[in-house]
Point group: C2
Chain length 379, copies 2
Amino acid sequence: MLSQLETPALLLDEKRMYRNIQRMQKRMDLFGVKFRPHAKTSKCPEVVRRQIAAGAKGITVSTLKEAERFHAAGIEDILYAVAIAPAKFGHALKLIQSGLKLTLLVESVAAAKELTQFGIDQRQQFDVLIEVDTDNHRSGIAPEAPLLLDVANALRVDGRYGAQLRGVMTHAGSSYALHSEEDLVAMAEQERVGCVRAAHRLRSAGYLCDVVSVGSTPTALSARSLDGVTEVRAGVYVFFDLVMAEIGICKKEDIALSVLCTVIGHRPQAGWIITDGGWMAMSRDRGTQKQPHDYGYGLVCDIAGSPIESLVFNEANQEHGVLTWRGDTSVDIEQRFPIGSQIRVVPNHACATGAQHAAYQVLPIDGNLLATWSRFSGW
Amino acid sequence: MLSQLETPALLLDEKRMYRNIQRMQKRMDLFGVKFRPHAKTSKCPEVVRRQIAAGAKGITVSTLKEAERFHAAGIEDILYAVAIAPAKFGHALKLIQSGLKLTLLVESVAAAKELTQFGIDQRQQFDVLIEVDTDNHRSGIAPEAPLLLDVANALRVDGRYGAQLRGVMTHAGSSYALHSEEDLVAMAEQERVGCVRAAHRLRSAGYLCDVVSVGSTPTALSARSLDGVTEVRAGVYVFFDLVMAEIGICKKEDIALSVLCTVIGHRPQAGWIITDGGWMAMSRDRGTQKQPHDYGYGLVCDIAGSPIESLVFNEANQEHGVLTWRGDTSVDIEQRFPIGSQIRVVPNHACATGAQHAAYQVLPIDGNLLATWSRFSGW
């Protein structure tokens, strides 16, 4: 059936995805915390519906377009987990007025003040989390910083309108650079402790702080304790990818995405096999470049999904993949990988590769027929 | 007017694009060769119409979807410049049957034979070029290789049906790694000589070879002679980008694309400014990484488009840009770049950044109103 697909095409192994969803949800259920998957990875209602069916409580998004599309698909509780820019207040308001329970994020006095004023002006109450920084990775406020209370103070409800502080959230993005269980466990604990501490400071100062939200796929799968945490977020676990396998929190056999490509040429002297899957199909993400094993543009597999370790995807142009045969030099690569034959390439980074495609071609759990699940993109 | 755009948004400076189109077309007109722009860069009929209006004869595409969309937009003569996979023959046939003059590319005996047979079976004549490799960069057949004649021989017209050899084409992609005028001139000459030589060998062996097609943006703008060449192809020249500026064939002021982003946070101790334009908005393309100046994820400019040299875009997450202030430490970055303020980021690679967006927000040559030109993606 794959031979009938026009390549490059993004394949999704539903069975692997199902196992990944179950693994995370069961873990969170054991901890007794809510799980709020990050839908930026799939951007696909079919995927998110399965996460919700498994027990997830609401979702996380990285853009208001994701909020809009997932709300239209029936999701009612969404956290927009990027500090909101004032020019997006109107868009957020529209979504809330359409019935969405949308929670926003701030990390500055300026945004907190402007959002409060906007809520008062528009006669709307916004639910807000403060972003906490627990690993000096990106954005957010350090748990001990005076700024934390300044931002809380700048959020205000005037009568029924304004911006209501609901809690704190953090994302230990630096967990992506780790490779040992010991370091991952420590980072998960650092993420937990920092976020719980920020919540404690806010509560001690008299602020409401019901939500303590932490997460990244590596820390969610490594945490030994989630005491004080009310919800966990993770995105890429749903598909996994080579970056996650190199971190050590999944096996290569857990990765649910691959890109189906067709061989279109050879340069036998150089050992090159040319395919129609270039960086447009894989993305330019070279996430394994600094990891123990650099997979180039992805791990090359045969049509059944088994790795072909000797075939290295080391160069990519827009619509050409250049794979180099590093195996036995007696192999005739033109015969072994003939024109028209197909390969599958497992991606470095599921979020980036997925974003290059308009749909998943789904290898379903039961039955032989491929399903097509569309995904959206843009802002 | 930019302040009303929800960010991130892809901006296109029409005046710069117009100058870039004129520069290339005038150069090709002086040489007396046809110019066939590569539409994979813009994937936008509005852009391609302007290239045709300036004098381009037909276009080049990298996917059959591009062929389909541009034909629907009125383009009648298209070269699909990637060696065709047999599974795509049916799609190509449909396009030709719908009235498109579509030229295909082969570089193997296998594909040439299969296409010939498909043409005979389907009672269709396909126009075909053979891909020539002039720089050991990617795909194609070396000008002196016996294989060149084998492929020509495998292309055959049986009565009116089959596959008709029309000529040769090459792409000196290794020109992207050069930085001096001398090297660029030499590479352009190498590209020309190799392709003309392949054409000569084919003609000497009795084959038809009307088309001698060469090109890449750097070689097209560097060639001193195009003797024997019938057409030139180039794509990225229409917008240019930082990679092209580092190669030395355009100025930074010629670059027509930029991504509009909004400041959403600060980490003053680290000198970081956080924006809502991450790698999803810029792409993961780090094309300047190995060039003289590594621009990280792009060149940061103010809202008017003037570079802010001290602000370095060195880290990106999916929807977060992390910019580091490397200027005067006495500058208060929270005041200089307040929450809600906008910046523009000039991309490393126009093709890759463009592909992340569904539309161009066009700063028009005349008038103040932004226009929106949609672009497509996928296969």
